[in-house]
C-alpha cells in the first residue's frame, strides 16, 4: 500500500535526514553558547562551527576561511551580487546574469539598475543552456560581475559553469554561481570550475532550513550587506546559527558520501516517470533539456512538463486532492500572475508556460509512488481537458 500524500516537490525543500537532526539536537540545549563568547560555552560552539566549516570547505575543494555561513541561498545571491557591485563599482558598472536565475538574483539586479548599474542577460536556448558565444559578445571591459546558476531549479538544466567562468575571467569580471540545486547533487570543485563565489543552501539536501553558505574566493573584494557584528571574519553580522550550520555540514557530508547512490536512484525514478508520461499522456511537452540529455545535463530529480490545453494551478490542485504534492510555473499559481520567467526565457509560448508542472523526486520516493502518480496524472489531465474550451479539436494548432 502506498502512503499518501506523496511528496514530489523536493526541489522546493526536503525533509531533514534523521542523522542530521541527531547531530543538531545537542546544539539547542547542551552546547548552546554564543560562539562570540570568550568562556567555555562559547568555545564549545566555536569548535562546532569550525568543524562544519572544514567539512564544507573540504567537499567543494575550498579553504575553510573561504566559507561564510548565511541564512541560505537567497542571502547568498543577494550578498554576492550586491557585495561585488559595491566593491567593484570603481572599476565598472556592468553586470551580466542569466535570465533563468532565482528571483533573489533578478530582483537584486533590478535594484542595482536603479542605483546606476547596467544589467544585461546572457541568452539561453530552448533547453535552458547558456549561449556562450552570446555571452562573449556582450561581455565588456567594464563588466564586473557574471552570474549563472549551476543548475536551474525549475527545468533542471545543468550549465557550463567552467566555460562561463573562463569567459568572465578573460575580462577580469567576477564569476558567481548559484549552486543551491547543485550542491550535494553534482560533484563540485570550486578551484576546477574557477568560480569566485558560490551560494549554497542546506534545506535542499535534507538539512535544516534557514542556513546556507557563500563561498568567497580568498583575495576577492566584497562588501557586507549585513552590518552589526564581527561574525564571519567581519563580513556577515549576526549570531551564528550553530545548530543550523552543524546540520548543514552533516547534511552536505552525507549527500557527498551518498552522492552516486542517490543520483542513480533518483534519476531511475525520474527516467521512469518521464518515459511513462511521454508515452501515456497525449499533448505534453518536456521542458528543459531534451530527453536524451537527461542523464548528463539535467538534475537527476527534475522533470518539468507542460500539459497542453489546461492550466497548471488546476493540475496542481487536482494532484493535491489525489495526494500528490508538486509545484507549478503557471501564472495562476504564482502570486504575481505572470507565468514563470524561466519558461518564458526558454521561449515557451505563454499558453504552455501556463500549463507547466514541476515534479522533483527525492531519495525517500519509491517507484510505486511514481507509478501511482502517473495514473493519477492521466485522470486529472483527462478531467481538466474535458473542461477546457481549448481542447475541442485534437491537435488544435491555435494553441500549440
Amino acid at each position: 500500500m502506498i502512503k499518501l500524500p506523496i511528496y514530489f516537490d523536493n526541489a522546493a525543500t526536503t525533509p531533514v535526514d534523521k542523522r542530521v537532526l541527531e547531530k543538531m539536537t545537542p546544539y539547542f540545549t547542551e552546547i548552546f553558547g554564543n560562539p562570540n563568547s570568550q568562556h567555555v560555552f562559547g568555545r564549545e560552539s566555536v569548535k562546532a562551527v569550525d568543524n562544519a566549516r572544514d567539512t564544507i570547505a573540504g567537499i567543494i575543494n575550498a579553504k575553510p576561511n573561504e566559507i561564510y555561513f548565511t541564512s541560505g541561498g537567497t542571502e547568498g545571491d543577494n550578498w554576492a551580487l550586491r557585495g561585488v557591485a559595491n566593491a567593484y563599482k570603481d572599476r565598472g558598472k556592468h553586470i551580466i546574469i542569466s535570465p533563468i536565475e532565482h528571483a533573489a538574483m533578478i530582483e537584486t539586479a533590478k535594484a542595482l539598475v536603479k542605483e546606476g548599474f547596467t544589467v544585461d542577460f546572457m541568452k539561453v536556448d530552448g533547453e535552458g543552456f547558456v549561449d556562450l558565444e552570446h555571452l562573449k559578445s556582450i561581455i565588456r571591459d567594464d563588466t564586473i560581475f557574471v552570474g549563472c546558476m549551476m543548475a536551474n531549479n525549475e527545468v533542471g538544466t545543468i550549465e557550463p559553469i567552467k566555460e562561463i567562468a573562463a569567459i568572465a575571467h578573460e575580462k577580469n569580471a567576477v564569476c558567481f554561481t548559484d549552486a543551491v540545486q547543485a550542491a550535494g547533487v553534482l560533484d563540485i570543485d570550486v578551484k576546477d570550475l574557477g568560480v569566485d563565489l558560490m551560494s549554497m543552501s542546506s534545506h535542499k539536501i535534507y538539512g535544516p532550513k534557514g542556513v546556507g553558505a557563500l563561498y568567497i574566493r580568498n583575495g576577492l573584494r566584497i562588501s557586507s550587506i549585513i552590518a552589526g557584528g564581527h561574525q564571519e571574519r567581519m563580513k556577515r553580522g549576526g549570531t551564528t546559527n550553530v545548530a543550523g550550520v552543524v546540520g548543514f555540514s552533516e547534511a552536505f557530508k552525507i549527500a557527498n558520501e551518498e552522492r552516486e547512490k542517490n543520483f542513480n536512484y533518483v534519476s531511475s525514478l525520474r527516467n521512469h516517470f518521464i518515459d511513462r508520461v511521454i508515452n501515456e499522456v497525449p499533448f505534453v511537452k518536456l521542458n528543459g533539456p531534451d530527453k536524451d540529455k537527461r542523464d548528463k545535463y539535467r538534475l537527476p530529480a527534475n522533470a518539468d512538463f507542460s500539459f497542453r490545453y489546461i492550466e497548471g494551478e488546476s493540475i496542481l490542485f487536482s494532484l493535491d486532492l489525489a495526494g500528490i504534492a508538486v509545484s507549478s510555473g503557471s501564472a495562476c499559481s504564482s502570486g504575481s500572475l505572470e507565468p514563470s520567467h524561466v519558461l518564458l526565457a526558454l521561449g515557451l509560448p505563454e499558453g504552455l508556460a501556463h500549463g507547466s508542472i514541476r515534479f522533483s523526486f527525492g531519495k525517500h520516493n519509491t517507484m510505486e509512488e511514481v507509478d501511482y502518480a502517473v495514473d493519477e496524472i492521466k485522470k486529472a489531465v483527462e478531467r481538466l481537458r474535458a473542461m477546457s474550451p481549448l481542447f475541442k479539436i485534437e491537435g488544435d494548432k491555435k494553441y500549440v
Binding site: Y309, I310, E311, E313, S314, F317, S318, L321, S330, A331, C332, S333, G335, L337, E350, G351, H354, A386, M387, S388, P389, L390
Partner: protein, 123 residues
C-alpha cells in the same frame, strides 16, 4: 489557500460542457492572467433553462464557473445579469485576494452570452 467549498466546487464542478444549438454563447479571456472561459445558455421565454461552461483556468475559475452557472439556471435573463462576481464569491465563502480577478470571468462570460442571445432575438 482555498476554502473547502471552493475545493469541492473545483473537484466536482456542475454544468461542465457545451450546449448544442445554444441560444447564447459568451467567450471571454482574462486580461490579468490569460485564462479563458466559454459559457453557453439554453433560453426559453427569457428564462435560462440550461447553462454550461468550459474553462481554461485555475481552480478558482473552475469553482466560480460552476457556482455561477448553477445560480443562473432557472433565472430570467435580466435577473441573471444582476449576478455579479461578488455574489458568486459570497456563495463560495470567499476567495484569496489574488484570486478575486478569476471570478470576473464567469460574470463577464454570462453577460456576453446574454448579450449574444439578445442580439439574436433582435434580428
Amino acid at each position: 489557500m482555498y476554502n473547502e467549498k471552493v475545493m469541492e466546487a473545483f473537484q466536482n464542478p456542475q454544468n461542465v460542457g457545451e450546449i448544442e444549438n445554444a441560444d447564447g454563447i459568451g467567450e471571454v479571456g482574462n486580461e490579468v492572467c490569460g485564462d479563458i472561459m466559454r459559457i453557453s445558455l439554453k433560453i426559453e421565454n427569457d428564462v435560462i433553462v440550461d447553462a454550461k461552461f468550459k474553462t481554461f483556468g485555475c481552480a478558482a475559475a473552475i469553482a466560480t464557473s460552476s457556482t455561477a452557472t448553477a445560480m443562473i439556471k432557472g433565472m430570467k435573463v435580466d435577473d441573471a445579469l444582476a449576478v455579479t462576481n461578488k455574489i458568486v464569491i459570497e456563495k463560495l465563502g470567499g476567495l484569496p485576494p489574488q484570486k478575486l480577478h478569476c471570478s470576473v470571468l464567469a460574470e463577464e462570460a454570462i453577460k456576453k452570452a446574454i448579450e449574444d442571445y439578445k442580439n439574436k432575438q433582435n434580428k
